[in-house]
Amino acid sequence: MTDDASKLGRDQEKLLVQRAQAGDRPALRQLVDFHKDRLFAFIWRMVRDHHEAEDICQEAFLKAFGSLDTFSSEYRFSTWLFTIGYRVCLNRMRRKKIFAGEVDVSTAASPVTSGAAQTAESDEAGRVRDVVWSAVDRLSPPQRATILLFYRNDFGCHEIARVLQLPVATVKSHLHRARAKLKELLEGAWDGQSQELRNFSQRAG
């Protein structure tokens, strides 16, 4: 993924954070602009609700700015921000679970893909995409977070461990179990219905 955040070098990020710590508003704006899309995408994939994801994203930024003086520059700001975002996500999911029973994001309505994206991909590729994301939605929150951070944010296991505040070995275990579960779910989809998935995987293989 190539976006603004990936272009932000570590030194540049450190400088921005220092300026933000000194109360520089343009620096705060730059930090938001650099990280908001990736953070929002991650949170939306976790909660699958646009308004809630935006709300969590805002809360994560506000909490980060509110305790910016506790930020240690030995870590990346993005790692710290994602840690806060993930914690807020978990809290919201816990509240939902308390007030509305079990949370199953796999039943959340998929957003309508933009016209450009729809025309750019075939029906076959679109169905494969839907099957894969449906399977991801059925993973447990830590497994889903691990998979998303690993594949979509290019985080390594150590960085994911910091975000999820888990031992690296547990993160590796999550990654392994998530892959096994995805394979199982996709094999089910494969056997059940889709010739197109078979074709797609044969091309990929």
Partner: protein, 254 residues
């Protein structure tokens, strides 16, 4: 993805298997020339992450060509990784998200130059208040009262003596008058000193209070957490600033 590729020995160590003696790239108890499916599946994660040594990669590739089941399993995982890594996000944040977020940060902290200006303003105000206070309390008139009283005594003492006095010793009346004048002078000096002492104490207290206020302001200016964030002060029973490690099982329950 730019991840570190560990050596074969490191991989074996993480897998918990020992490297076969004298067989580079081989696994103890595993005949790599005819890798079984279970053995191949153990290497899937490292294979997909590019962490497998070239020799083991070649062995797994060879197995994959011969085994339809492993080929299919790897293909599914590769398709999944491809979709997850390259798919476009179907949702985007509202365009004015940043503006709305920064609007929530109500009171921006002052920049360095603004802090210096504010301090200079406070220092100037403090100095002006001190000068006005001292003038009001008469600190600059020091010695005036004692000078007036001293002149009175001097006048009494230097007053021309009566003829009787000039001839003999001072009369009792003159001495009494001089004594009275001295007592008055001492009393006035005492009163004056008491007034000044009380005034000085009041001024000291006022200055102490002002200095404490300035110190509070300085502390506030240097405290990053003074940035007021709506919601930041809210009780957050679920989310401490430095969240403790989460119980894995607890999260899995969600």
């Amino acid at each position: 993805m730019g991840r570190a590729v560990p050596g074969t020995s490191q991989f074996f160590a993480t897998c918990g298997v020992e490297r076969a003696e004298g067989r580079p790239g081989g696994l103890a108890g595993i005949d790599v020339t005819a890798m079984r499916c279970e053995e191949a599946q153990q290497l899937f994660d490292a294979y997909l992450d590019g962490e497998l040594s070239p020799s083991l990669t070649a062995e797994l590739d060879a197995h994959r060509l011969q085994c339809a089941e492993c080929r299919r399993a790897l293909a599914i995982l590769e398709v999944t990784g491809h979709v997850l890594g390259s798919d476009h996000e179907p949702v985007m944040l509202e365009a004015d998200f940043t503006d709305r977020l920064l609007a929530c940060v109500e009171r921006p902290r002052l920049g360095r130059w603004q802090q210096v200006r504010r301090l200079a303003f406070l220092g100037g105000s403090l100095a002006a208040a001190a000068v006005i206070g001292m003038a009001f309390l008469g600190v600059f008139d020091r010695g005036k009262q004692s000078k007036v009283a001293g002149e009175k005594v001097e006048r009494v003492l230097q007053a021309p003596a009566s003829p009787a006095v000039q001839q003999d010793s001072p009369s009792a009346e003159d001495l009494k008058a001089a004594e009275q004048a001295i007592d008055e002078w001492i009393e006035k000096m005492r009163t004056s000193l008491e007034v000044k002492r009380q005034s000085g104490e009041s001024l000291q207290k006022a200055l102490d209070l002002t200095i404490l206020q300035v110190l509070d302001i300085l502390e506030e200016l240097n405290d990053p957490s003074s940035l007021h964030l709506p919601g930041a002060d809210e009780a957050a029973p679920f989310l401490p600033i430095k969240p403790p490690p989460v119980d894995d099982e607890d999260v899995d329950d969600l």
